[in-house]
């Protein structure tokens, strides 16, 4: 029900500038240098398309290492992962998608849409499900925290010098943060 509303919303959204879409290992910028989790994992053929799809579904700077960990966990519970990733990527390419709003409505309900939501969930939450025993693969880099890091602390990471957070204004929700 809410998804139909969102489809209408998506159509009226203006395009956003895409940050480093499909970029190779970046140097500098907000993410800085990224190293693979392991050479073996980096060499897995499923990883690169997974990262390409991730960057299309989630239009933010995504850490390669985090993606490798996520792909590995998804792979363990979903034997169809690489095939599904391929299929969704095809839809994205067919729509000349640069950002998620370009192609998400075209993803059919069912296993492909579920995968798309799962990938988005993983990048935002830093784990694959809501359970207390899920394996975490990202915390500070989980996008739910990055999303508000300009306004509030990412817990356990300091934010300012002593008492320098005084008199911060109460900011509106918009504009969104660049991350």
């Amino acid at each position: 029900m809410s998804r139909n509303n969102n489809e209408r919303e998506l159509q009226s959204l203006s395009r956003r500038k895409l940050l480093k879409a499909g970029a190779a290992l970046g140097a500098g910028g907000l993410l800085g240098v990224q190293l693979p989790v392991s050479a073996a994992l980096a060499a897995e053929p499923g990883v690169a398309p997974f990262m390409e799809l991730s960057r299309l579904l989630v239009n933010h700077q995504l850490d390669e290492g985090v993606g490798q960990r996520m792909w590995q966990l998804l792979q363990q519970e979903n034997a169809q992962l690489d095939r599904q990733v391929s299929a969704v990527l095809e839809i994205a390419h067919a729509n000349n998608a640069k950002i998620v709003e370009d192609f998400f409505p075209a993803i059919p309900e069912g296993e492909l849409q579920d995968l798309a939501y799962q990938v988005i969930f993983g990048w935002y939450a830093g784990c694959l499900n809501t359970s207390k025993t899920a394996e975490s693969f990202a915390f500070a880099q989980a996008l739910t925290f990055q999303n508000t890091a300009d306004v509030i602390s990412i817990p356990s990471y300091g934010r300012t010098g002593p008492n320098e957070w005084a008199d911060r204004p109460n900011v509106p929700v918009l504009p969104l943060r660049d991350f």
Binding site: F121, S136, T144, T148, I152, S153, P169
Partner: protein
Amino acid sequence: MSLPSNSDVVIVGTGVVAAVVAEQLLDAGLSVVMLEAGPRVSRAEIVENYRNLPLGNKGNAIASYPSKPWAPHPEPNSGRPGDDYLQVSGPNGIGYLQSYVRYAGGSTWHWAGTSWRLTPEDMRLNSNFGVGRDWPFPYEELEPYYVKTEYKLGICGPSDEAEQWPQGVPRSAPYPMPELPFSPGENKFTDVVRDKLGLRNVHVAQARNSGTAYDNRPACCSSNNCVPVCPVGAKYDAATALGRLEAKGAKILHNAVVYKVETNAQNQVEAVNYLDPDKQSHRVTGKTFVLACNGIETPKLLLMSADDRNPNGLANSSDQVGRNMMDHPQLAYKIKLKEPYWTGVGPVVNSGIMETSQGDYRARHAAAYFRFNNFAQNRFVTFDTLQQGLVGKALDEQLRHNTGTSGMIVAAHEILPDPNNRLTLSDKKDWLGLPKPAVHYDVGDYVRRSAEEFSGPMIQRIAEAMGVLEAPKTVGFRPSKHIMGGTIMGTDSSNSVVDDVCRSHDHANLFLPGGGAMPSTATGNSTITMVALGFRAAEAIVQQMKAGA
């Protein structure tokens, strides 16, 4: 490690009260041995434990402190050694499913640092309102010990007298550090409750380094992680004191679970016995003994130590050990605000409306204070938002909106000492074969009436003033983790366990400083009151030992 035989003082526990008592004794030239049931851990490990938790478990403060099999602490629904450890029962059993940390440093590892003093009124409930118990001494006598506590732990607080607590009662010394700044949400909350309700949301005194290093520990950097752990040691926790205690000559033994306190023919305490992780028993003698190992573990140990001379447990001729279990029954309300407030900058608890906790109404129902928590809300809103099926910019905006407009307000109540709120030894055994503690708990009509007539309606008024989408609800009374009453203080040895310096009525060389001694709870975190009692007990021990020697 070989322990010195017959130390001056044997202290069971290494939490904040034990640490403060130990340091006073060491400074007075006494020898001190401390026995800690659990392990010594590094801050880095706890910090990483927290960061490694999945988002779904990050709200669980105890999950960063997995207990050891030999020293279980309550870990409900975890599949861990502490899962089934604390047996709760009664109409509000779930309200007493406490959280505490059996590691060196104790529960201040994960406390928020909130440092309310009692007021003169709080200490005379019975004389003033005909309910509960009076303290056996007035506020004026406790005040200098509060000052010692505030300087020892490093407590920052408001210099504006209008914000200080207790109100209108002059302090004999200023706070060592000034108040911490509010988050944007707290500023807005303060304005709203003042302008619309005429209520004062004050900066709470807290054990956190404000604007400067103190006690050779760094200043608060707003990592907003006080609960479950301060990553930099800006919040006082007893773990920060242990290195200094050892440098002063304390011998600290870890993974040593004391299970029996022994008396001699004169019914003085003579020794404690502990089990190590290999289940081997060891005996430690001393001259004076302090049990400061937590409000549940201390009465449990006394009961376990029953012998022929003390068939109901040590220090228990009054039959009050384990009775009168108290806490601050808490009602928490998640709120969805119309406009963003943004909590999550600065410490996780930074203020409170405390003026509501005083008044003649206490003859009828429990006092309550109210606070707007300051946790970053991301982990509370992420799953719900993701389940809405949004993507891209719409998702980011919704997530940001939900984070900024989510919050929690809490009503914390006082409770009366009820002998039927009782800790006993269950017949279930833990890994070492020791009885698991059981607590029967009923918050009582005094508290329920407060929720119905006072705190509940007040919460709704506060929420409305803040501007919420819908009237907030609560899941019911939950623990504040402020365990009090199990070794209650009084002048009458027939209905109390300890005297006014926390010395057992039954055993002149046994001291039980801590929350267990408090005869009334008021509404604010009990920690600095416990520590003030620790200072008093330490003073008495030093006097007693110097006189006796």
